[in-house]
Symmetry: C2
């Protein structure tokens, strides 16, 4: 199996390196056969090839069985003609990665780190399903001419239907509740969104559908995060709400995500950015990368045993108090990873 | 002076009635001369006149010196051809109420009610300045045809410039920092937004400008709300972020807002909705309405003494432990108001 490795910028290369060490150990223990194929993307690709998504990178991703990406961007490229992030957006679009999945759970090791009161966050366990290739991110016209700018938010029923089905399918494996988030009291696209949500709900009679306006969802995420099971929403709202939700567990350093297409390779990446301010210091938390790898093992390759082994090792290392700085500890990135590898058996 | 009174739906009429009792008392104490002119809007207007913003209502608002609105909407009108909220949107547009101002402060009486840890919220004191008549709320085309829907986000430089100037002017009276929120790594309108922010910053050399991406702002509002002074953003982001921010003080029942045009009457309203589930029970918190009235006294009429008197009375009533249910107390809406009026001298 071929894995495209996109280390990217900032802390990207260091957390990717540590993540792959963990995967190496799993390969050994479980006799796996993953080959790693590194490609440049984002700022690194701008520096090396003059564009954030070089052809070889896209071609390599297309022919891979799964893609691991670490992080992209940084102030260094603020004045570049194309931003590093464009590489990620172009990759999502080219591979039709329409379904972005971000699980949020509050671990008992870290609940005290949440900015929210412990009583509010304990038991939070939900998944944000974000539509990733439509909406205002890609609609045309998008232009800035003289003193007027325009962006266009477009959704076709089919695009909404497939992300809804994804959300309902996930809910079926969980607590069977979907919260569809829109702004149907204002937007035409949200009216269509809500209509299709109702239609798809009929295909999943065992799953409960509720609607929530985006402004209200932004409040409930903070006041009662435990009410959610699966949240499904369009691209822009998903960007905002999934980042808002990501602060609930107390550190962004813990959170992975998956992006799926209908039949091509999936992409797995931490939800945090490239954190250029702490790059190269061996203090970043590699867990978001490690969990991105276990998500890949499960969702692309059904290797649940290997994933369980890695996750159990992470848990036990954290339980020993070996944690990185973002979690209030002192372990270096490499120390933490080393401890995880030692635990894996 | 003529005040247009739009009580609206749900708890709207009861909190408006209580708010006006407080204003009556202030009129008596400070020899003010406000005449109240009630008009229907929203669901009540649909029921009575078949449209959420009847002509008389709009005409009455236009010729007023200020407008007080309580709350709009409810499930009763879910299947109405025009939604109650359209009345509010049409009113904002017709009166060119482009600047929505939402102050968020954490009071020492209520900090413990915040869903966030007290240590994180204590000292929070910022203002969200939301552009209210542009962006995706009003851009054309906006249509839902068969299986495709489109919304359009448009901004002209002039629209951005006037809201920026408003934000910088407010910052000048405060801690002199403006955080402009956009999504300039994706949207054309955000690129224009950021450019105009930079331009306007040159007119206010004593005020610091910083930019923040909307997804990041959604996180920082929760993890470090005390870093903000004035947040300025476009209509849709402002809707989401201001509602998110509104949970910080622990109850929506406390929060007022003002919407200003360039030279017409301003509109003052609580930021919460019509809460149909508790309507008619005399348990809603009237404070958001009372504070909307004190905002009106200050911002439309420079009647700071009267506003101070009302706010001091509210403080002292709360300090006595007379608080409504949302704040953990047992006082009825009318009891709370009565206590405030007794305190006013
Ligand atoms: C980098 C940026 C374009 C991207 C987005 O807005 O989708 C990021 O914020 C994300 O959520 O993955
Ligand atoms: C009622 C609705 C249309 C409105 C908005 O989205 O502007 C409300 O949420 C608000 O924030 O005042």
């Amino acid at each position: 199996k071929n894995i495209a490795i996109l280390a990217g910028d900032g802390i990207g290369p260091e957390i990717m390196a540590q993540g792959l060490k963990v995967l190496d150990k799993a390969q050994e223990l479980f006799q796996l056969d993953f080959a790693y194929h590194p490609y440049v993307i984002g700022g690194a690709a701008i520096d090396e090839k003059g564009t954030p998504l070089p052809e070889e990178t896209l071609a390599g991703c297309r022919t891979s069985d799964a893609i691991l990406l670490a992080a992209i961007g940084g102030p260094k490229w603020d004045d570049a003609p194309e931003r590093p992030e464009q590489g990620l957006l172009a990759l999502r679009k080219a591979l039709a990665l329409y379904a972005n999945i971000r699980p949020i759970t509050v671990s008992r090791h870290t609940a005290h780190l949440s900015p929210l009161k412990e009583a509010i966050v304990v038991g939070s366990d939900f998944v944000v399903v974000r539509e990733l290739t439509g909406g205002i991110y890609f609609g045309e016209p998008r232009e800035l001419i003289d003193s007027q700018a325009v962006d266009t938010c477009v959704y076709r029923a089919e695009e909404i239907r497939r992300i809804m089905r994804k959300a309902f399918s996930i809910a079926r494996t969980r607590r069977k509740k979907v919260t569809s988030v829109d702004k149907s009291n204002v937007l035409a696209t949200s009216k269509l969104w809500r209509r299709i949500a109702e239609e798809v709900a009929l295909e999943f009679p065992d799953v409960t559908l509720e609607h929530q306006l985006v402004d209200s969802a932004a409040m409930v995420l903070i006041t009662k995060p435990t009410v959610f099971d699966v949240i499904v929403t369009e691209n822009m709202f998903g960007d905002i709400l999934s980042d808002e939700a990501s602060v609930i567990p107390g550190s962004l350093g813990l959170l992975p995500s998956a992006s799926h297409s209908e039949d091509g390779p999936s992409l797995y990446e931490p939800i945090h950015g490239s954190a250029p301010d702490i790059a190269g210091q061996d203090i970043a938390n590699p867990l978001s990368m490690i969990y991105s790898i276990t998500m890949m093992l499960r969702q692309s390759f059904s290797l649940h045993e290997a994933a369980d082994c890695i996750e159990a090792a992470c848990d036990s290392v954290m339980a020993q108090g070996i944690i990185t700085k973002d979690l209030g500890g002192t372990a270096a990135t490499s120390q933490f990873t080393e401890a995880v590898i030692q635990q894996m058996t």
